[in-house]
């Protein structure tokens, strides 16, 4: 098997190309089969690989060919496979397969069915390349590849300008991070002479001391890339808008896989980050800040997908926190569980939207508990996991993160406290969603319930969201072992109880109505704060005025090509001379004579007066 892991990304890629080239000639059912089966096969292969790996714990390195070889720069098209890769691949192919399956029903009526699957397959391929790459350049290929697929899928319904706008925003904002990351690559290669991750980390440890400047800069540049892709502050603004894409896309790309690529990147290069503690602190702070910001914002949203989007941002913030505090495996673990429950939630919301004639506003839903039972239970389980209620998958992963954060010297407790606040908020907004959508009075009537192709993925994901916390991820070989110490028990108790408090609060506010917050919400402060949170802390507005509008203004100003003005000036100058001289050609002989005499005077002056020193 180890020799054929290249098949895993290749199969979805081939399927994608097939669908692109011949999609218009295939039947809908054929398209569905090709699209789903390719990912299914990839998933099976991954499963096979996993079983092999569990047995022998063998790291696989496979080089297909040298991509390019220039002056010692020789990145290969080569793969590296270890426990971390396995986790990522499993998530990608596994969750990916479920979402593909879900999509066959969800997108059935769309005229661009083939195009959809082509993009989605290509995304899977690119994502697999990203996680399997053994060097940063190939990783970058996957990285940009998923970016393009994300762009294509967000703007899938290109007929609406808003979708196109969202897609471009998604691409360009992440590109900002990517560019910084590319600079990081340049720096790393220049300094270390290789981009091969393992060799590079080894070389880095030889070359640099902990706390050196260059690794700090390199790490920060990589973090920029991660921040962009993973929608962290300050480059998170694209993700809520990216919800313009079809909902399964949101589930796959903007919840389960692509947005966690940043987390993967940092985890993958943790050897570098260990050399730059400052960078790690930065990661942690970014993570927790993002997490809180997003949680507050999610609290105020009314669009079901936007709530989930902000929740994703917030959860990835937790992962960043984990990475920042050195809880590598906890971060990856949370990545995996999050993939399960967030995919579940997105698919659930997709089901709702699908059945509710594309209704997004949660306050126009209500009372769906009885009419869409499968969806209801999916949401219950997913929200529980998201809120990290005990025994759900999210509970285990989040708990680990918070506890390890607490143990960090100096800022540890502060991070922990902030994390707790985030957890509280998470519980509130997730159950706000549940109560508003599924309980109370029905505002819109669903025209159907989910079909089996939607129900099966939902059920499987429910299961995973419940039990995912019990999985052991095989990353112990990848990351340095934590010291294994445990904080005081009260810390653990507080961590466990906070989400429950949150759920209760949500219950009292949004279901039973016992807790009246109208007064608070309607106060001036409350209103403006609410508005502030609703708008995502005004960051979009800020960027709009700081960057977007000035750029448009600049482009508009320069549109007329100011440089050409220089040449215009030269032309004008020539025309002026032409004009003057033409006027001098008046046709009058006496004037001509005068000019000749003047010329004669000039010539005599020059010849006779300047003649000193001749010969």
């Amino acid at each position: 098997m180890s020799e054929t892991i290249w098949l895993i990304p290749l199969i979805p890629l081939l399927s994608s190309v097939t669908l692109m080239l011949f999609g218009s000639r295939l039947k809908v059912s054929q398209i569905g089969i090709i699209g789903v089966a390719s990912v299914g096969i990839a998933a099976l292969l991954t499963l096979w690989l996993a079983t092999e790996f569990m047995q022998n714990q063998q790291v696989i390195q496979l080089s297909l060919w040298t991509w390019m070889e220039v002056a010692g720069f020789a990145p290969g098209i080569s793969f590296y496979f270890d426990g971390l890769t396995l986790v990522m691949m499993s998530v990608i192919t596994g969750v990916g397969f479920l979402i593909h399956l879900f999509s066959t029903e969800f997108m059935e009526k769309d005229p661009s069915y083939a195009r959809y699957f082509a993009y989605l397959n290509m995304f899977v391929a690119a994502m697999l390349v990203l996680v399997m790459a053994d060097n940063l350049l190939l990783l970058y290929l996957g990285w940009e590849g998923v970016g393009v697929c994300s762009y294509l899928l967000v703007g899938f319904w290109y007929q609406h300008n808003a979708n196109g706008h969202a897609a471009r925003k998604a691409f360009i904002v992440t590109r900002i991070g990517d560019t910084a990351m590319a600079l990081g690559l340049l720096l790393l290669f220049t300094q270390l002479g290789t981009l091969d991750i393992q060799a590079m980390v080894g070389e880095a440890n030889q070359t640099w001391q902990v706390g050196d400047t260059i690794p700090l800069i390199a790490c920060l540049l990589l973090v920029c890339g991660a921040v962009g892709k993973s929608a962290q502050l300050p480059l998170h603004t694209w993700l809520p808008d990216a919800m313009a894409g079809p909902t399964p896309v949101s589930a796959l790309i903007h919840a389960a896989t692509m947005v966690t690529a940043g987390v993967y990147l940092i985890a993958r290069t943790h050897g570098l980050f260990l050399l730059a503690p400052t960078a790690m602190t930065v990661v942690a702070v970014i993570g927790i800040t993002t997490s809180l910001m997003a949680a507050f914002t999610a609290l105020m949203q009314t669009d079901i997908k936007r709530i989930l989007a902000y929740s994703t941002i917030s959860q990835i913030g937790y992962m960043f926190l984990a990475l920042g505090v050195g809880a590598w495996s906890a971060g990856i673990f949370h990545l995996m569980t999050h993939a399960f429950f967030k995919a579940l939630l997105f698919l659930g919301s997709g089901a709702i939207i699908h059945c509710l004639h594309h209704e997004h506003n949660i306050f126009k839903m209500g009372g769906l508990r009885t009419r869409m039972p499968v969806t209801f239970w999916s949401f219950m389980i997913g929200s529980a996991a998201l809120a990290a209620l005990p025994m759900t998958s999210g509970f285990f992963s989040k708990d680990q993160i918070l506890l390890q954060a607490y143990q960090l010297p100096d800022i540890g407790p502060a991070l922990w406290m902030a994390g707790l606040l985030g957890a509280l908020l998470t519980a509130i907004y997730s159950f706000r969603l549940v109560f508003v959508v599924f309980f109370g009075k029905a505002n819109t009537e669903p025209d159907k319930d989910t079909g089996w192709r939607m129900a099966v993925p939902l059920s499987v994901l429910c299961f995973l969201a419940m039990v995912g916390g019990w999985f052991m991820i095989p990353v112990s070989e990848v990351f340095p072992a934590s010291d294994g110490s445990h904080p005081a028990h009260w810390v653990e108790y507080v961590s466990i109880s906070v989400p429950i408090v949150g759920v209760l609060l949500a219950y009292f506010i949004f279901y039973s109505g016992r807790l009246k917050i109208d007064g608070l919400a309607n106060s001036t402060l409350g209103k403006s704060l609410g508005q502030f949170w609703l708008s995502g802390w005004g960051i979009d507005w800020l960027y709009d005025h700081l960057f977007v509008k000035p750029y448009y203004g600049l482009a508009n100003m320069l549109k007329g090509e100011p440089v050409d003005a220089i040449y215009g000036l030269i032309v004008a100058l020539n025309q002026t001379f032409n004009h003057w001289l033409s006027v001098a050609q008046s046709g009058r002989m006496r004037w001509y004579l005068a000019s000749m005499v003047a010329g004669l005077i000039l010539v005599i002056t020059l010849a006779a007066n300047l003649s000193e020193g001749a010969l």
Partner: protein, 511 residues
């Protein structure tokens, strides 16, 4: 002789094309296509007898016999001017690119030329002949001759078959390039004169002039003449303003050749002449040149963003992309140079394809204004998909040729100057901005009602075939660029040795 034949075939082919118009209306384009393919085939046949291109010996820069091909015959012995042609890896790449894009250009203009077809195809073939000459000539006078002569057919192509404002554009194009050409002529003659006064012989041969000794001040001025001439053609900021007009107004085939091939002659000239002839001053000058390159990258991108004319946008994107080439050349290390060569090839394909799409749109919609477009994907999904491919290629998606090029340039540049690299790298962001905007305004968005029942015809098999050639080329360049790199490597190696750069590879990392 092979090289002479290559040029002569095209020249004669041009005459045939004119004559063939008497046979039938569609004959010229067939003849032209045939001629280019024959030329290409001829070259390949001749090459097949040669040692494998990937195992080329490094040509010794000043030893003709070590080159892949070399031909020399007297022309004007009174001044030591000869017909000296030679081929090495880089020339070969450029010649192949020229012929392939030539065929593509003919295909691009298959239907949109309606008057004086014979003369059109003739001009196209003649300009190709001139370009081939530029890429192969190693006698400076001969080089200059081809350099100037290839512009005349190009001028006619713009002036006769161009769009609404063709007179202005053709004139601007010609004056810019000719005026800068005059500077080059002065420089060539000055160089030869310096050599003459040192050695007492008249010679225009590259090989003889390589080792000309001269005072730094002299070398500086002469180098500047070459530099400006080449940068105008490249085009580098701030000498680029002819390009948007020329590209916009030229017929499709003209734009394809202009963007795909003609711009590369500038870059080729820089690599082949401007730096090696004056290694020290050129490298002293490199700082300024690189800033110009970076400025071009940024400026081109910003201006592209502001355009509403489809072709103009692509034209400015060329300015931005060719900025990378300038950067790559003046970083003058192997990585960056390879990047520059790659960029020449990859940009040739990607931009040519975009111009073809622009031409197809113009042919169908009779406008290039993107405000008139919107939502065309619905009517022409194939064209939309193809456009999407080349747009992402042009914004530098990894896996496609342009990325390899830009990354290598940046990588090489980073070793020379960090801050310029940072500025240039912003081109990746701004590049994405204008590329996607292009896509949004033309193919995506709400369908413009005007075109819904307009009976727009999607790409047919001829167009798709042409496009497929370029797509495959870009993909291959993107994931396995090694043949191109191998072909260029020995040459670059020998140039680097020749200039024996004391160029400091010190990284100025901000501490």
């Amino acid at each position: 002789m092979v090289m002479i034949n290559l040029i002569v075939i095209l020249l004669v082919g041009g005459l045939l094309a004119i004559l063939s118009e008497r046979i039938s209306d569609t004959m010229p384009r067939k003849v032209a296509m045939g001629v280019v393919l024959v030329d290409l085939l001829y070259l390949l046949v001749c090459l097949s007898g040669m040692p494998d291109i990937t195992q080329l010996q490094a040509p010794v820069a000043n030893d003709p016999s070590s080159w892949l091909m070399h031909f020399k015959a007297d022309w004007i012995p009174a001044f030591g001017i000869s017909i000296e042609l030679a081929l090495d890896g880089i020339s070969l790449l450029m010649v192949l690119l020229t012929l392939v894009l030539g065929a593509i250009a003919i295909s691009a203009s298959w239907t949109d030329i309606v008057v004086r077809k014979g003369f059109f195809e003739a001009n196209l073939l003649w300009s190709l002949a001139g370009v081939l000459g530029v890429f192969m000539a190693l006698d400076l006078m001969l080089f200059f001759l081809f350099w100037e002569v290839m512009l005349i057919p190009m001028y006619f192509m713009i002036a006769i078959w161009g769009h609404e404002n063709r007179g202005y554009a053709a004139m601007k194009f010609f004056i810019f390039t000719q005026a800068s050409g005059l500077l080059m002529l002065m420089s060539i003659l000055a160089l030869v004169a310096v050599n003459h006064s040192a050695t007492g012989t008249w010679t225009f041969s590259y090989f003889d002039l390589l080792n000309t000794e001269m005072a730094e001040q002299t070398a500086y001025w002469i180098m500047l003449g070459f530099f400006i001439a080449f940068v105008v053609k490249l085009p580098g900021f701030p000498f680029h303003t002819w390009l948007p007009d020329a590209h916009t107004q030229a017929p499709t085939a003209g734009s394809v050749i202009l963007a795909g091939i003609l711009l590369k002659t500038g870059a080729y000239g820089l690599i082949r002449f401007a730096v090696p002839l004056f290694p020290e001053v050129a490298l002293n000058f490199s700082y300024a040149a690189m800033w110009l390159g970076a400025a071009g990258v940024v400026y081109g991108a910003v201006l592209a963003f502001g355009q509403t004319d489809f072709k103009r946008l692509i034209a400015y994107s060329s300015v931005s992309h060719m900025g990378f080439v300038l950067l790559g050349i003046y970083a003058w290390n192997e990585l960056a140079l390879q990047g520059a060569v790659m960029q020449m090839v990859a940009h040739g394909f990607s931009t040519a394809a975009l111009f073809m799409i622009a031409g197809s749109l113009q042919e169908r919609l009779h406008t290039r204004d993107m405000r008139e477009m919107s939502g065309l994907w619905q009517q022409m999904p194939r064209m939309g998909a193809v456009a999407m491919f080349f747009v992402v290629a042009s914004l530098g998606l990894p896996g496609l040729g342009n990325f390899v090029a830009e990354f290598l340039v940046l990588l090489g540049l980073f070793q020379v100057n960090v801050w310029i690299t940072v500025v240039a790298a912003t081109g990746l962001i701004t590049g994405a901005a204008y590329s996607l905007l292009l896509m949004q305004r033309s193919f995506q968005g709400e369908a413009n009602k005007k075109w819904v029942d307009y009976g727009l015809i999607d790409f047919g098999s001829r167009e798709m075939l042409t496009m497929a050639v370029m797509m495959v080329a870009l993909i291959v360049l993107g994931i396995y660029p090694q043949p191109v790199l191998d072909a260029a490597q020995p040459v670059l190696q020998s140039l680097l040795e020749l200039t024996a750069t004391p160029a400091v590879a010190v990284v100025e990392v901000v501490q």
